[in-house]
């Protein structure tokens, strides 16, 4: 019979009672029909929880399909009705020793999913039996069930010896059982933060033996667990790699990447160069195969991983350059990534091919991509000495095309080439100068001016060229201004006779007529140098500059090794370590375990503040008036004088980053402005720490910020951000207050603020999540009497059921960490009512949490009733 009809039905009145009746029907097939109807209703979201006992009634059956359906229902509803779930325990226990292994496994699998404490107690005995079951299907199910139990009660698992049983399963004859045991152990290790699975020779052999036989997913578990080990012994490493290598030819790309990860992490320890070479050879083709998938998203993930691998071991793909050739219809993000990898693979032997590709790319339509292609040519010139001639020739060809952004990008790149190969390519300066008028981007202008200054003695009309810029000196961006000052000084030192007026003029403008402290500083330094000791000035300004080297390797060695251990994960796509974008599982878990065990709830945990201890020097609130406006340049760490004088080094602000931030506005959406944000509480106030990075060509300034109305009424204070130069970064901290006018209904989660950030290039929108534990004010304590009188004056309007992890003591500790303060406790056996206070801005929130005697409830009261839904949402999260 088709099951579709169960979905029709509509919600007639009396439907439930009709179902109820059917569930008790004498004939089993009728009961099965009825249960199917219930499941269908459950799937589409109808409330069928009132039928719990009736459905449970059908569990005693020999019909396996019916049994599975009932179990499905029970899993979904046990959480809401724990006291009723107990009723199913008998059947679970009985089924767990059924003759049919499918039933045994089903029972043990389901029991683990019923997250009700009192059911857990009954789980131990059947689980122990099932772990030793004669049927591997039951054993593999039981293995995972240990992980489920650990999540519910770590203590039970450890005291009842399940860990030992699990470790025994590693020697199981069935590979799938081994794989699941590995998965369970790995999860338990993550939660507990300690090492349970040791890499001993025997364990290793067991895992490697199972690896060949188990399912593809089991292979992924085992490979991932292998990659966490390490060995210093070359022979061991070699034999592990040897035995993992066949997995590279698996049809499932998840297995392939997991195998690559294992090999990459052991390969460093192999001393035999031949063996290393062999492994590299084996890894290449499967990696390329990953790229042949149809979906560009998957290609992108593969490319990002390949990017890491190539940085670590370029030889793996040294001969696969052609695979990365750009197709016209590749999406832009795939093209960019391919370009990046081609630069890394570029070598003397293939440079001709690569340059042709770059030239092709530079004639495409997408401006960003074209610029990147031009930059790629420059990077190759700097990377491969022998290719520099060819690269310069190609760049000249591109300049002849007279496409404005190609010309400008080329000039920027040529400036770098001049830095690397001084006095080799002056012949092209004439061509460059022809394009002087068309330059309108600050970086290109600055580059051109640098070239003119650097080679002033060979450019006859250098003075005229520079002079043409001086008329509009004040309209130029600071990058160009700085460069002009330097170039004119260079010119003066080289041709003092006819440029005296010019240098006077420019130094005047730089020191007297500008507000920019950078420019003033540079002007004064030159001025004093020139006036006190022209010889010294010559030595400083015209001194030999250190050669720049290629920057193909973007990630430093140590970081790269760490990232290679993350191959295939999200970290390998972001190229960031996991702890920069995810919560540290271990720490949170450890906290949780600790709190759960803590009997004395009053011993409060240190307040959970991210980086709250380290004052941020840009925390304008605490530094206050002492650093007005110019704080950014003033705080800049002094660096090498040469670097300071020469614009080629981008200014670094050298600020430590105490708050973990996440990128909320990527540069491609922010018109070149990248914003990272993270929240923290400091000095009794919520702060939003922002890192603004300018990846655009022009300086960014005139910042202003605005919040959308939000459920907690968060409002920004004055945003103070100095102008941000191209390729530099500014950190700032925005104090956040709560204001009733800002209150608005939740767009999504209550703790999400939608933010508009304006700068001189436009308005940009992003959103920031304020962790719930940071929302409440430190000043949330009120006296007991005040609290009680207010509490009594308001009716019980907002009562909700919640899920609470832990008892009243541990909850107190947990909430204290989030600035929810314990006020009083009242016991009406078996229930316990605990009262808390908290403040959102000035608004007092009061809540009563009940424990024991059924599901916990929260009863929230506040005069600012509009805050209650958001407050409740915060509690839901905090209490779990």
């Amino acid at each position: 019979m088709s099951d579709a009809k169960y979905f029709g039905g509509g919600s007639k009145k009396g439907e439930i009672s009709e179902l109820q009746e059917e569930l008790h029907h004498q004939r089993e097939d009728k009961r099965k029909e009825a249960v199917k109807k219930v499941i269908a209703a459950m799937t589409v979201g109808k409330d069928v929880s009132m039928l719990f006992t009736d459905v449970l009634n059908c569990i005693q059956t020999n019909n396996l399909e019916l049994k599975k359906l009932v179990y499905l229902y029970v899993i979904n509803h046990a959480k809401l009705q724990p006291e009723k779930a107990i009723l199913a325990v008998n059947t679970f226990q009985k089924d767990a020793s059924d003759l049919n292994p499918l039933v045994r496994a089903l029972a043990i699998r389901t029991m683990g999913c019923i997250r009700v404490d009192r059911v857990t107690e009954y789980l131990c005995e059947p689980l122990r039996n099932c772990l030793k079951d004669k049927d591997p299907y039951v054993r593999k199910t039981a293995a995972l069930c240990v992980a489920k139990l650990y999540d519910l009660s770590a203590e039970l698992v450890e005291t009842q010896g399940f860990l030992e049983l699990l470790i025994q399963l590693l020697s199981d004859s069935n590979p799938t059982v081994v794989a699941n045991a590995v998965a369970a152990l790995t999860e338990i290790e993550d939660i507990s933060g300690r090492t349970i699975l040791q890499l001993t020779a025997s364990n290793l052999n067991k895992l490697l033996a199972a690896l060949n036989e188990c399912t593809e997913w089991g292979q992924v578990f085992i490979l991932n667990s292998l990659s966490k080990f390490s060995t210093a012994d070359s022979k061991d490493a070699e034999s592990i790699c040897e035995r993992v290598a066949p997995r590279l030819n698996h049809a499932n790309s998840a297995v392939v990447l997991a195998a690559v990860k294992v090999i990459m992490s052991y390969m460093d320890h192999i001393e035999n160069p031949e063996a290393q070479k062999g492994l590299c050879k084996k890894m290449g083709p499967p990696l390329v195969t990953l790229l042949t998938t149809k979906e560009p998203e998957i290609q992108y993930v593969a490319l990002r991983n390949i990017n890491l691998i190539v940085q670590k071991k370029p030889s793996i793909l040294a001969h696969e350059m052609r695979v990365f050739f750009i197709k016209y219809n590749d999406p832009i993000y795939v093209k960019m990534e391919k370009l990046e990898i081609m630069i890394m693979l570029a070598a003397e032997r293939n440079i001709e091919q690569v340059l042709n590709e770059f030239k092709e790319a530079a004639s495409e339509v997408d401006v960003e991509f074209v610029r990147k292609a031009v930059r790629a040519i420059g990077r190759c010139a700097i990377k491969i000495d022998k290719a520099a001639d060819r690269c310069v020739a190609v760049l000249l060809e591109l300049i002849q095309m007279k496409v404005s952004y190609v010309v400008q990008e080329s000039i920027i790149v040529i400036k770098d080439i001049f830095r690397k190969y001084p006095n080799q390519y002056e012949s092209i300066i004439a061509t460059l100068c022809q394009n002087l008028d068309t330059l309108d981007e600050p970086e290109a202008k600055a580059s051109m001016i640098w070239i003119v200054g650097e080679y002033a003695e060979r450019i006859e009309n250098a003075d005229a060229l520079l002079d043409s810029f001086l008329d509009n000196f004040h309209d130029e961006s600071s990058q160009v201004q700085l460069q002009l000052v330097t170039a004119v000084v260079k010119l003066f030192l080289k041709r003092p006779k006819d440029t005296q007026d010019m240098v006077q003029k420019v130094l005047n403008m730089a020191t007297q007529e500008t507000d920019n402290p950078d420019l003033r500083d540079r002007g004064y330094i030159y001025w004093r140098l020139l006036s006190t000791d022209p010889e010294a000035a010559k030595n400083v300004v015209l001194g030999e500059k250190p050669l720049i080297s290629e920057s193909t390797i973007q990630i430093d060695e140590a970081m790269l090794s760490l990232l290679c251990r993350e191959i295939s994960s999200l970290a390998s796509v972001y190229h960031k370590l996991p702890d920069t974008f995810v919560t540290k599982l271990k720490e949170v878990r450890k906290d949780k375990v600790k709190k759960d065990r803590e009997t004395d709830g009053e011993s409060l945990l240190p307040q959970e503040q991210q980086g709250g201890g380290q004052p941020n020097i840009f925390d304008l609130d605490s530094v206050g008036e002492s650093l007005p406006q110019t704080s950014a340049p003033a705080a800049r760490a002094p660096v090498n004088v040469m670097d300071e004088l020469d614009f080629l080094s981008s200014p670094s602000t050298g600020v430590s980053q105490p708050v973990s931030k996440e990128i909320v506005l990527p540069a491609e959406r922010g018109n070149g402005m990248q914003v990272a944000a993270g929240a923290a509480r400091r000095g009794g106030q919520l702060h939003l720490d922002l890192t603004i990075q300018n990846q655009a060509g022009a300086p960014l300034g005139d910042f202003a910020i605005q919040f959308n109305k939000n459920p907690f009424g968060f409002a920004p204070t004055q945003l103070q951000v100095p102008p941000v130069n191209p390729m530099s970064t500014v950190e700032t901290s925005l104090a956040i207050s709560n204001h009733p006018n800002m209150f608005g209904p939740a767009q999504q989660a209550a703790n999400i603020i939608q933010i508009a950030l304006k700068n001189n290039s436009g308005v940009f929108y992003f959103q920031v999540t304020i962790p719930f534990h940071l929302i409440f004010s430190e000043a949330g304590e009120v006296s007991r009497d005040d609290y009680l009188s207010q509490w009594r004056s308001m009716p019980d309007e907002h009562v909700r059921e919640v899920q609470v992890a832990g008892d009243s003591n541990s909850v107190q500790g947990k909430l204290r960490g989030a600035n929810l303060f314990y006020v009083a406790k009242r016991t009406v056996a078996p229930q316990e009512f605990v009262y808390f206070s908290a403040k959102v801005g000035e608004a007092l929130m009061m809540v009563e949490v009940s424990f024991g005697g059924g599901p916990s409830r929260i009863n929230t009261k506040s005069r600012s009733a509009e805050l209650i839904p958001a407050f409740e949402q915060a509690l839901y999260t905090l209490l779990r």
Binding site: S2, G45, Y137, D151, N249, I298, Y328, V582
Partner: protein, 496 residues
């Protein structure tokens, strides 16, 4: 993202399938760590539609046949074990399983067989850990063999549509070696036939009652070719990804038989240290080969290479990929990939107001072969630069089969051939007239590359053929259908 108390071990918490209105078709919670008052499907759907990312959950999803299949995490944990790759792989495999057991993927079929679908979700994944995604191993543990609709219900089922699809093409099926030629109506009919054969396995395992299908095994060699040509027609990158797709429709009593297939030329892989026979015409040098689990690989790896490469395999029921391979023009210059088309193009600025684009295409196939549905797309300058475009085909034999169309929206000229015979040469001249004086820079207005789309039946670019296909102890051989097809994946010629 700040600390979050909703923390789990990193495997996903929930899996659900939604239709395009956001209604739940199937929903399974694996870890019980999502607060029960949150309707995650709803949250997901609104986030998808408003294209914003909420903070609470993380998803990986695939939208296929109008169905969203979503994996949901409450937290990306530090030890993230479900990687982007595995997640998508898992979803795809799951959908294949649902299709195998419940019939063509559709909301209707899933609802019809939801009891079975839930069993599949229960068996394939436990606590967020994938267990097995292989049809054969699930057959033992999944019940409800009556799930398929009774014959009276057939009209609406996937089975019937499958049968009609087969029926309508039955002629081409009975003479499989001629199927290519009988599909003379061009791409439409061939593609649909091809799809019903390789792409989707419509019946559902338990529904395979039709006798014409039973007792057969279908083998297709499918190659997708990937070429970049220079303007002068010289290919400078060519590669092929190919696969041997098998659909096993053998009768139950034959189902566990071992089969042996002999391939010619013999695929070898350079890095696998096989006796180097690369120059020998009997071997085919591949970049990478991946065998299905059921194949007994030693024939490639350790057995001494003989005249033939017998590949033993034990075909599981249903469709599977026996061999996935990749070949490309190698550095050394030998070319295991035959290029079916050469395209030369030339752009000439003729005068103040005229640019000509000349396209010459030559088919290198043997004369008894032909490409179907050949579509050549040529970029022309953007329409606001252009006054008119005139196209002229200049065929040497004086006859031309192609039709030419200029589209202002896409700035493209499309040149279509229902068929393109081996050895045929065609020439197209496109004259673009612009306002006077514009032509100087007009070259840079022509962006992109010439791309060609086609399908070539009964021909493989690598020349890989199936020499024989037998059961190992063979009497009562199943009916065997063997076909070859090469499709353009990305076939581009750079502009001159």
């Amino acid at each position: 993202m700040g600390p979050n108390f909703l923390c789990t071990g990193g495997m996903f918490s929930q899996l659900f399938l939604l239709n395009q209105r956001g209604d739940v078709i199937l929903f399974k919670d694996y870890r019980g760590d999502v607060p029960s008052n949150i309707d995650t499907a709803e949250v997901f759907f609104s986030e998808i539609n408003r294209r914003i990312k909420g903070a609470a959950f993380h998803y990986v999803y695939v939208l296929k046949e109008g169905i969203y299949t979503v994996l949901l995490w409450t937290q990306i944990a530090e030890e993230e074990r479900m990687t982007p790759f595995s997640s998508i792989q898992l979803i795809n495999k799951l959908l294949l399983l649902l299709e195998n057991f419940c019939g063509t993927l559709s909301e209707e079929n899933l609802r019809k067989n939801f009891s079975m679908a839930y069993q599949i979700l229960d068996e394939t994944i436990d606590y967020g850990y994938p267990q097995t995604t292989e049809t054969n191993s699930l057959m033992d543990v999944i019940l409800d063999k009556n799930a398929h609709p009774p014959s009276s219900d057939l009209k609406s089922s996937g089975l019937l549509s499958a049968l009609t699809a087969w029926g309508s093409n039955s002629e081409s099926h009975s003479v499989p070696t001629h199927s290519a030629t009988s599909a003379s109506q061009g791409q439409e009919s061939y593609t649909s036939l091809f799809k019903s054969f390789v792409g989707s396995y419509t019946g559902g395992l338990y529904n395979a009652t039709n006798t014409t299908e039973e007792g057969s095994i279908y083998v297709d060699i499918v190659e997708k070719i990937n070429v970049i040509l220079r303007a002068d027609g010289e290919p400078f990158h060519s590669s092929v990804t190919g696969s041997i797709e098998v659909k096993n429709k053998m009768r139950a009593e034959e189902k566990n038989r071992d089969m042996v297939v002999i391939l010619r030329p013999i695929p070898t892989v350079a890095h696998k240290k096989i006796v180097p026979l690369a120059t020998d015409s009997k071997t085919l040098l591949m970049d990478d080969v991946i065998f299905h689990r059921c194949a007994l690989i030693p024939s490639v790896n350790s057995r001494p290479l003989k005249e033939e490469l017998p590949l033993d395999f034990k075909p599981p029921a249903g469709p599977f990929t026996l061999l996935h391979y990749r070949a490309s023009q190698s550095v050394e210059g030998d070319r295991p990939v035959a290029v079916p088309f050469i395209i030369k193009n030339e752009i000439t600025v003729m005068s103040e107001n005229r640019v000509d684009i000349s396209i010459k295409i030559e088919c290198l196939l043997p004369t008894d072969k032909q490409a179907h549905s050949v579509k050549i797309q040529v970029p022309v300058p953007k329409s606001h630069h252009i006054n008119s475009v005139s196209c002229q085909t200049m065929d040497r034999e004086g006859t031309t089969l192609g039709t030419v169309q200029y589209s202002q929206e896409t700035n493209q000229v499309t040149w279509n051939f229902p068929k393109f015979y081996g050895g045929m040469k065609q020439h197209l001249r496109i004259k673009c007239f612009t306002s006077v004086g514009q032509s100087k820079n007009i070259r840079s207005q022509i962006v992109g590359s010439v791309s060609v789309h086609f399908e070539i039946p009964m021909w493989t670019s690598t020349g890989l053929r199936i020499k024989s296909l037998n059961t190992i102890h063979g009497h009562n051989e199943p009916t065997r259908w063997i076909r070859y097809i090469t499709q353009s994946d990305s076939y581009q010629a750079r502009l001159g």
